[in-house]
């Protein structure tokens, strides 16, 4: 009986948090999944059950495929690059050097700035002829190029801005992890005469693995979530060459008002994210070294 009341007490304690989570996360996700089997209600035409026809529409939608492929390129571009940069920056500002607080601040700044504001600044960086980028390439006599206005480089520009935005945030996690590593390990390594590279490869990197896993998952999720700058930089153009899945979902849902099809796309996106998380926790975690 005592144990039973303890259990009730426990449930009551988490009830507020749980109900918020249910109402704002789990229920919408479930409702989205259900909506994906119905048609979009329009005026006098109520929605009706249509089975898998929204999914069939999706498979034959070239823009969906374009967005999906772009998103894979976006993830492949942003994740390794932002993690590598974060690690390098963290190792750098972890050392005892003059002005490291200022340096840490500098690296972290992009994270604090609102993405839309930042994208407006980047818009001018990428501007042909007098933008910052072309002022530099212009010094070497390189010809002008429409960075955001070409289907060959638009996605690349979108990736660069995302990496710039993300790296500083991930750096914080690496920095925190690096400071957890006992200084005695470093002292022992230097007594043994280990090179800095060996120390990193054999000591720091393995000890950072849990952090890396955490960052990897976050980076992957952000790879599907980070689209704010697309609204400002390219609107998904030219000709969908920089459209990402979430941006396309917004277009379908809030510009075309095709809510059923947007629900279908959202379901696919959710499933993809769930799969990624499952793989990472299931497979990678076993190979991660925990103390």
């Amino acid at each position: 009986m005592k144990r039973f009341s303890l259990a009730i007490q426990g449930w009551l304690l988490i009830l507020p948090a749980l109900s918020v989570l249910m109402v704002f996360t789990h229920w919408p996700a479930l409702a989205t999944f259900i909506d994906s089997f119905y048609s979009t209600p329009k005026g006098r035409r109520p929605s009706r059950f249509v089975g898998l026809s929204n999914y069939e529409q999706m498979l034959s939608d070239p823009v969906f495929w374009k967005a999906a492929i772009n998103n894979l390129i976006f993830v492949a571009g942003t994740v390794p690059l932002s993690i590598a940069l974060a690690l390098i920056m963290a190792l750098w500002v972890n050392d005892k050097l003059k002005g490291r607080t200022a340096l840490r601040m500098a690296f972290f700044t992009p994270t604090i700035l609102p993405m839309i504001a930042v994208a407006n600044i980047w818009l001018f960086f990428f501007t042909p002829q007098y933008g910052l980028l072309e002022q530099i390439t212009g010094l070497f006599g390189a010809p002008s190029w429409p960075w955001l206005g070409s289907d060959k480089t638009a996605l690349f520009c979108v990736i660069i801005v995302a990496v710039w935005k993300e790296a500083g945030f991930f750096m914080i996690f690496y920095l925190a992890a690096l400071q957890q590593i006992s200084p005695t390990l470093g002292e022992a390594a230097s007594l043994e005469g280990a090179s800095r590279w060996t120390f990193f490869r054999r000591v720091q990197w393995p000890l950072l693995m849990p952090t890396t896993l955490f960052i990897l998952i976050n980076a992957m999720i952000n790879g599907f979530r980070l689209v704010d700058h697309v609204f400002v930089l390219t609107h998904g153009g030219p000709d969908n060459s920089s459209t990402l899945l979430l941006y396309y979902i917004y277009e379908v849902g809030f510009k075309y008002w095709d809510t059923a099809y947007a629900a279908t796309l959202t379901t696919v996106l959710l499933a993809t994210l769930a799969l990624i998380a499952a793989i990472q926790y299931g497979i990678l975690e076993r190979r991660v070294h925990y103390r």
């Binding site: 329009k42 005026g43 006098r44 407006n120 818009l123 001018f124 501007t127 042909p128 002829q129 007098y130 212009g138 006599g141 010809p143 002008s144 190029w145 429409p146 955001l148 206005g149 070409s150 289907d151 400002v232 390219t234 609107h235 153009g237 030219p238 000709d239 969908n240 277009e251 809030f254 510009k255 075309y256 008002w257 095709d258």
Partner: protein, 436 residues
């Protein structure tokens, strides 16, 4: 979409002071039982435009005790329609809102709005409805009914740098009148450095975001109409449309007087200020922006002609929402009529740079004085008689997206003009088949 990322709601000139002083007194407390008209307006909170709108709301209340307008600043046009339609679906829409004129079919299909015809009773009402420029009414009427009232409307014009014209040996007071002239002028205006890199382009027509709108500045002179008034058919694959697109492509690839690829809408005025381009096409809404930031004398001209002259209109209309109470709708109608009198339309045009929506606004003393000081402001008005409706159909954003994608594919060289337009036609026809 035409005004999303522009300095479109720009600094306000004179007249603001008086209105701002009015708002400083604060909104008087609502009388008991007064009906309140919620009004979604597409602008971010703060800034000079909100002061103007607050001033209008207050002035209306003063003239109509017992009625109160409550402006709600809802962000960009896109944000505002998302908020308004979501509110409509949940059963509590605003009573009235300013939204893009091109959203008319979307709002009708969602059964979100009521036509204005229900409120037109007196001869005065009828005269008021006829007082607007017909070019603006094209995007406000369909099926014999009026669904929107023009408020903040714009059109595309050509801005040119008079200094650059002089340097190139052109008459700085003569803008290009035809397509051939524009090409010829642009060739003289394009400057290259020793390496052959362009330092100043002749002309640029932005193509990011909503290229279809600027494209209508080419298709209209080419003699093409892109859609039927019922919004159920489009004509993207007509030969005139292909001609128009080919001209645009040729400016960049054949004549090499226009930047290659997609030209960003948002940076186009800046390109002009930086003298990286001698002629630009952009909205009349940029007039004040250019006036304040161009460090050289500039001119404003109608778009050049091919078979005829012409430009699309753009911008926002007033709509009244269906699920609001009848009394609230009546009050909103009264407000819309009040805010679009000749004098107020003139003042709004002067303060913001939008084109005053009624011919008689231009005969008001305030407007006459403004035009005398700043004759460029009248170019948009003079272009109105040849202006046409902005592309708008059922399932509007999807159809325009098909055209936008085609235009961008052709401009970046991924597809030839005719193929791209044919693809857009097929896609648009597929989307529109449900509305036949």
């Amino acid at each position: 979409m035409t005004q999303d990322f522009t300095p479109h709601r720009r600094q306000v000139l004179g007249g603001l002071g008086a209105l701002a002083a009015g708002t400083a007194l604060g909104t008087p407390a609502l009388a008991q039982g007064a009906s309140e008209i919620s009004f979604f307006y597409p602008v971010a909170v703060g800034g000079p435009i909100t002061k103007l709108i607050d001033g209008f709301a207050e002035g209306f209340q003063k003239d109509n005790p017992g009625l109160a307008v409550k402006p709600i600043y809802a962000g960009s046009y896109q944000d505002t329609i998302v908020k308004a339609l979501t509110a409509h679906k949940s059963g509590t829409p605003p009573v009235t809102s300013v939204l893009l004129s091109t959203d008319m079919f979307t709002l009708i299909d969602e059964e979100a709005i009521v036509p204005f015809d229900d409120f037109i009773k007196t001869d005065d009402d009828k005269a008021w409805l006829k007082s607007f420029y017909p070019a603006f009414m094209e995007n406000s009427q369909t099926g014999g009914k009026t669904w929107g009232i023009p408020f903040q409307r714009s059109t595309i014009v050509l801005y040119w740098n008079k200094e650059a014209f002089k340097e190139a040996g052109l008459d700085p007071e003569k803008p290009p009148q035809t397509w051939d002239e524009m090409t010829a002028f642009a060739q003289k205006l394009t400057k290259r450095d020793a390496n052959g890199n362009v330092t100043q382009w002749g002309v640029q027509i932005p193509s990011s975001g909503f290229p279809y709108w600027l494209f209508q500045g080419l298709t209209t002179p080419a003699g093409a109409v892109l859609m039927n008034p019922a919004g159920t058919e489009v004509y993207f694959d007509k030969p005139e449309v292909t001609t128009a697109l080919q001209y645009w492509i040729d400016l960049a690839t054949k004549h090499k007087v226009h930047p290659p690829g997609i030209v960003e809408w948002g940076t186009t005025p800046k390109d002009f200020f930086e003298r990286k381009v001698a002629m630009i096409w952009t909205t009349t809404g940029n007039l004040t922006n250019v006036r304040n930031n161009a460090k050289f004398p500039f001119g404003v001209a109608m778009l050049p002609a091919q078979k005829r002259r012409g430009s699309p209109t753009g911008g926002g209309n007033f709509y009244i929402f269906k699920k609001a109470k009848r009394a609230e709708q009546e009050a909103a109608f009264k407000f819309i009529k009040w805010i679009t009198t000749a004098e107020r339309a003139a003042q709004w045009g002067i303060d913001t740079g939008y084109v005053a929506v009624r011919p008689d606004s231009w005969d008001t003393p305030a407007m006459k004085k403004y035009v005398a000081d700043f004759p460029q402001a009248a170019v948009a008005r003079d272009q109105l008689p040849v202006s046409v409706a902005e592309l708008s159909t059922h399932d509007n954003q999807r159809v325009t997206k098909a055209l936008n994608d085609a235009l961008q594919a052709a401009l970046t060289g991924t597809k030839p003009a005719a193929t791209a337009l044919k693809d857009a036609q097929t896609e648009a026809t597929r989307i529109l088949k449900d509305y036949k």
